[in-house]
């Protein structure tokens, strides 16, 4: 003997379908018969409500104007869309473009990072040289006023700074500021910085 039919089989029976063996089971099973009767009664109630018009019908004029209303909303939506969307750029294309941009950015970043790395290496050489000097005792006689006019702004700011309260001068460097500064330099500026560092190292 078959077990109780599942919901899907009862729905099939209530809608006039279903397997004969399911129908035979329901015929002889009070519990399943109650389920089926309840289901059939509810379907009948719904059909009556549907025939009675459960949704009020708007006026015919409303339907005449509705496509125009949608058209206006569509034009407005297109006008207010972000530029990338209005230009027909799909999400897939946007993701592709973003990936390409990130890749180019990474390649450029790697290429640029070689410049500060070399600079830091040179600076560390300079550091070890100055350590060697410091063991022998500092010799300030070599240090003279900066004569290079390109450093004039720095000299001017340093002279004007109140060194007792460096925060107030806004001249102290934030973490990573040097790296950021390197990245913000143009190619010519980086070349110039490299040249100056090499001159300093040679001295």
């Amino acid at each position: 003997m078959m077990g109780h039919p599942g919901p899907a089989e009862l729905v099939d029976l209530a809608e006039g379908g279903g397997a004969p063996e399911t129908a035979a089971h329901v015929e002889g099973c009070a519990s399943c018969r109650d389920d089926l009767n309840g289901l059939t009664a509810m379907i009948a109630i719904h059909e009556t409500a549907r025939d009675g018009g459960d949704v009020p019908e708007p006026s015919p004029l409303f339907w005449t104007h509705f496509p125009r209303r949608v058209g206006t909303a569509l034009e407005s939506a297109v006008r207010h869309e972000p530029g990338w969307r209005a230009s027909g750029l799909t999400v897939r294309n946007a993701v592709f473009a973003l990936t390409v941009a990130i890749t180019i950015g990474m390649v450029a970043g790697v290429a640029i990072s070689r410049v500060p790395r070399d600079g830091r290496a040179e600076a560390s050489n300079l550091g070890s040289a100055s350590t060697a000097l410091s063991t022998a005792g500092p010799d300030y006689s070599e240090v003279g006023p900066v004569v290079d006019p390109r450093w004039a702004v720095v000299v001017q700011m340093a002279e004007a700074a109140g060194w007792d309260a460096p925060e107030a001068t806004e001249l102290f460097a934030m973490d990573g500021a040097a790296d950021r500064a390197i990245f913000e330099l143009s190619t010519d500026e980086r070349r110039e910085l490299r040249r100056l560092l090499e001159i300093e190292l040679r001295q």
């Binding site: 729905v11 059909e47 409500a49 009675g52 949704v55 339907w63 005449t64 509705f66 058209g71 569509l74």
Partner: protein, 198 residues
């Protein structure tokens, strides 16, 4: 053939003989193509929306939104599913989202009375419009998926497999949802009082 038709669109239907042709027309910017699409489906989608939100203004806004979203997705339309199924899918998703964020303003149902359900025929005992109103109130209290299945099956007379395509589940799951929805509605619907004959 174009899914659905009205007197207003006879000329358009001659020009666009199928859903695919209509979509191509819309994408190509053919004059009147998108208007035709709206005219073909506006009433059905409005009724579907109304059955979820139970008021004209919201149903109107939702129907409009369905067409806006459909327009955005026209380029991805594939003829494997009919245009109406696609529109229904957008519509059901929008309606479910709407009702999940905004509780429907439904009248409180009368408390269930102790009655012998088998002894009365509710269809005969209650006025149709009152019954329809009570039904809408009860349907609004169903879980979203059951609600969608009931509305599509009973009021839009859709076959189970089409409902499955719209709500994104199997035919068996749709039938099970339908069965449980009907059971819930039976509990939620106020039962008519039984007058005991002396």
């Amino acid at each position: 053939m174009l899914s659905g038709s009205t007197d207003l669109v006879v000329d358009g239907a001659k020009q666009f003989a199928s859903d695919e042709a209509l979509v191509r027309g819309c994408l190509a910017g053919s004059p009147g193509a998108f208007d035709l699409l709206v005219q073909l489906h506006q009433r059905t989608l409005y009724r579907l929306c109304y059955r979820f939100v139970d008021n004209h203004e919201d149903a109107c806004d939702l129907t409009q939104e369905v067409f806006l979203r459909a327009h955005r997705g026209l380029a991805r339309f594939r003829s494997q599913s009919s245009l109406s199924t696609r529109l229904y899918r957008i519509c059901v998703n929008l309606c479910l989202n709407r009702v999940s964020v905004k509780r429907p303003a439904t009248e409180p149902l009368r408390p269930e009375r102790q009655t012998d359900h088998r002894a009365v025929d509710p269809v005969d005992r209650l006025d149709r419009s009152q019954r329809a109103r009570q039904l809408r109130g009860a349907i609004a209290r169903l879980p979203p998926r059951q609600r969608a299945v009931v509305v599509l099956r009973v009021y839009h007379e859709m076959p189970h497999h089409e409902i499955a395509a719209i709500v994104g589940s199997s035919v068996g799951a749709v039938k099970a949802n339908y069965f449980h929805a009907m059971g819930n509605l039976r509990r939620l619907m106020p039962q008519p009082e039984v007058k005991v004959a002396r």
